[in-house]
Symmetry: C2
């Protein structure tokens, strides 16, 4: 799907305010409501927009701690990976998980209430996952940036 500047402007706006009304969006990017609505339809149907989500405050919900955990499995067979991934998806404290190249197989970001809560997660979830042989936890002292998708500003230039 070919996107032009107007599409990027729509995406940029919607990324910053996912609940903006079609009319406000149309006005902001300088398009009529009908044209704006049609483009938005296209962007949603084509999969460029995957969905809309409320962003909750982990802190306000009592999860003031973020851990970044590097995990290695005992083998890299697709079956082992699949079993581990199915397990990690079930853990509600997992914010993100990527299969990686390099020293560790997975990098996992975890939200916890506090250190004690992290110990519980570590024990009940992480060490209980299939094929795990090595776990290395680091803790975030501060969140500097946290976005789901990258800023699309560069494409606007």
């Amino acid at each position: 799907m070919a996107l032009d500047r107007i599409d990027f402007a729509i995406l940029d706006t919607l990324q910053k305010d996912g609940r903006i009304s079609n009319s406000a969006l149309a006005e902001k990017i300088g398009l009529s409501q009908s044209a704006c609505s049609r483009r938005l339809d296209q962007l949603e149907k084509s999969g460029v927009i995957e969905g809309y989500h409320a962003r909750l405050s982990n802190g306000a919900l009592g999860h003031k701690m973020t851990a970044i955990v590097h995990i290695s499995l005992s083998g890299q067979f697709e079956k082992s990976l699949a079993e581990f991934e199915a397990a990690i998806k079930r853990c509600p404290n997992v914010l993100s998980c990527h299969l990686m190249s390099g020293e560790y197989d997975y990098v996992v970001r975890i939200a916890a209430k506090d250190l004690e809560d992290y110990e519980r997660i570590h024990k009940e979830w992480l060490t209980a996952m299939p094929h795990v042989i090595k776990i290395n936890s680091s803790f975030a002292l501060r969140e500097v940036v946290d976005r789901t998708s990258m800023g699309i500003m560069p494409e606007l230039a």
Copy 2:
């Protein structure tokens, strides 16, 4: 702010569908529209809901590669950290960045179109940031989980 099961149900729903209408939300959680609207107001004003965002497909936008970069600075003075953080916030390819305890000072997640694009980002942004003395890049082979906030299901129990 004290949250009850109804609040968690609202949050859970809104996290999955950030554009749901108040009337649909009210029906889903079994509340009248006015009560639902009042609670939502509170959740937004109290900061539990930080905002609403469209989730864009990095892949569809041409950014098919995710890198996780560990960065160390030459010193951990607050001034150095602040300067580095100001710089990293400016980079549009940065998805997340955390100041860490442990071996590296920062863990940064970066979206890139491809390896060539990553090399450009590495050269133009990462190595150009103030006080950086060590950069270690790993690449994601697969995204297993990616959420902004943790699932709040556990609180529903």
